[in-house]
């Protein structure tokens, strides 16, 4: 029983990063009705760029690396928008799917090339801290992952519900023609959505790197899949859904890892996806008002 609780708690804490990745997929979907397949790869890419801080300034503190990843994520998000969406005909549903899958593979290749395919150590934070309650423990690094993720989510919700840009973003996702009639610039909102989700992705990538202790290009594909699963379970376009689904998937996979081992666990996560697709295709909270 204790093992079980421990696995759930560790998994849910780490699941906050899945929630962030899920939010990234879901926000872009809400605004543009497109899936950005390159999102998780760009997020890992942003985390890699964070390591450049250590190149420039040897011995820089971990939080500076995280900040670098955050900023680089935003820049990468904007670049993904430009290359995969801005100049591509949006009326064709397949075009941006192809362009973003291409970008996913390209980012992977660049990472492999630059690092010679070697995993890179990532700076840890609070890895020596451990909260105990009897046998039950809370790892400091996982608490950091969770805490930072929650802060980022609160920031995002404040942005969405208390700023002009947030108002514009929600308007575009609910009714794009009316949004334009109000004087909102569609292209600008689209681009900024990519920047904002990129920032989120960069920090998520860094948190994953910090809790695993290293980054490897092998992370991008599973993370893409998990992000998509979280998006489906949470309901396409729903930010609260992505948050809940991220924590859920994190806890679920860690429990299965405990009982079935690390190689088998993702199998069950995939099965969870199909259970949702069949029994609850709209996600945990089917969104109140989607377009179409």
């Amino acid at each position: 029983m204790l093992d079980f609780l421990q696995a759930v708690s560790d998994g849910v804490l780490f699941g906050a990063t899945y929630a962030l990745i899920g939010i990234g997929f879901t926000l872009v979907f809400g605004v543009m009705h497109k899936i950005n397949m390159a999102y998780a790869a760009a997020s890992v890419g942003g985390a890699y760029c964070g390591l450049l801080v250590l190149k420039v300034m040897a011995g820089a503190p971990a939080w500076l690396v995280f900040l670098g990843a955050f900023a680089a994520g935003g820049v990468l998000g904007w670049m993904v928008y430009l290359t995969c969406f801005h100049f591509i005909p949006l009326s064709s549903p397949l075009a941006t799917l192809m362009s973003t899958v291409g970008m996913l593979l390209l980012i992977d290749e660049v990472i492999v090339h630059v690092t010679n395919g070697m995993p890179q150590n990532y700076p840890l934070m609070f890895d020596d801290v451990m909260l105990r309650a009897g046998e039950f423990t809370l790892r400091g690094d996982l608490l950091l992952v969770f805490g930072v993720s929650v802060l980022v989510m609160i920031g995002l919700l404040l942005l969405l519900y208390h700023t002009r840009l947030g108002l514009a973003t929600r308007a575009v996702s609910q009714q794009p023609v009316a949004a334009q009639l109000c004087g909102i610039r569609l292209v600008r909102v689209n681009a900024l959505t990519f920047v904002v989700t990129g920032l989120l992705g960069g920090i998520a990538g860094a948190l994953i790197g910090a809790s695993v202790g290293m980054l490897s290009p092998l992370l991008t594909l599973p993370l893409t899949v998990k992000g998509l699963i979280v998006t489906v379970i949470g309901g396409l376009g729903s930010v609260p859904g992505a948050i809940v689904a991220g924590l859920l998937v994190g806890g679920f996979e860690n429990v299965l890892q405990l009982y079935r081992g690390v190689t088998e666990r993702d199998l069950y996560v995939m099965l969870l996806l199909f259970v949702f697709l069949v029994f609850r295709p709209g996600g945990i909270f089917a969104p109140k008002s989607g377009r179409d």
Partner: protein, 239 residues
């Protein structure tokens, strides 16, 4: 000089030309009505003026400046607002947020707050429902909200695409009362209507569009006298 001048505008969806060379003028300070059967191109014309659709040919000038092909935000900034067909409120945003979205381009927070108060005074139902999601409003309330949202940009010309569509007779009367009121406040109005009886009570000039072409232009008197139009839009016996 006319406030809005549309010249030989052609707008197409792919190969199909929905507007085949439309020309018309709206005088400043007037209420002008565009009549026409389903599929004639009324919505296409409104969307083209608002900048959502780009004309393939022709010119549109507003207050003497060319606006054809400009982006919607630019056209709103110049003082043209459209209340779109089917209202298109933001369903998961509150009534207040819908109004704020309408004022998106305005930086003057205080004046915006005053205008919101003014809208609530004009549409008391909206004040009552201020914190409610727009998607939960009745059709009539949504239409009021769509009008109020458009007015939040302080337009000189208000375009309305079938504002009475699908509304109960009492609500339709209220919409027309509001059109007359807005006109008195100095807003020029160019609206699409299928309900010619109601339109005759407020509009000073009529255009009829059929299959993408203007087929009639004239005063309410001329409209009522035209035998063919009377039969099609007013029912032969009525006046």
């Amino acid at each position: 000089m006319s406030l809005l001048k549309i010249q030989d505008v052609v707008t197409a969806y792919g190969k199909i030309e929905a507007l085949k060379g439309v020309s018309l003028e709206v005088a400043p300070g007037s209420i002008t009505c565009l009549l026409g059967p389903n599929g004639a191109g009324k919505t296409t014309l409104m969307m083209t003026v608002a900048g959502i659709l780009k004309p393939r040919k022709g010119g549109i000038s507003f207050a003497g400046e060319e606006i054809a092909g400009r982006a919607p935000h630019d056209i709103v900034a110049r003082g043209v607002a459209l209340v779109p067909e089917n209202r298109l409120v933001f369903p998961a945003m509150t009534v207040l947020e819908n109004l704020l979205a309408g004022a998106y381009q305005r930086g003057d927070k205080k004046a915006v707050a005053e205008d919101i108060d003014r809208m609530y005074a004009r549409f008391p139902r909206l004040r009552e429902r201020s914190a409610q999601h727009a998607g939960t409003l009745s059709g009539g309330e949504q239409q009021m909200l769509a009008v109020a949202r458009a007015l939040m940009s302080r337009p000189r010309l208000l375009l309305m695409d079938e504002p009475s569509l699908g509304l109960a007779p009492l609500v339709v009367e209220e919409i027309f009362r509001i059109i007359a009121e807005l006109h008195r406040d100095g807003v020029s109005i160019f609206f699409v209507e299928q309900n010619a009886h109601m339109a005759l009570k407020v509009a000073q000039h009529f255009f009829l569009i059929e299959q993408g072409r203007i087929s009639f232009s004239g005063t309410p008197g001329a409209l009522a006298e035209d035998e063919v139009i009377r039969r099609a839009y007013l029912g032969s016996a009525q006046q």
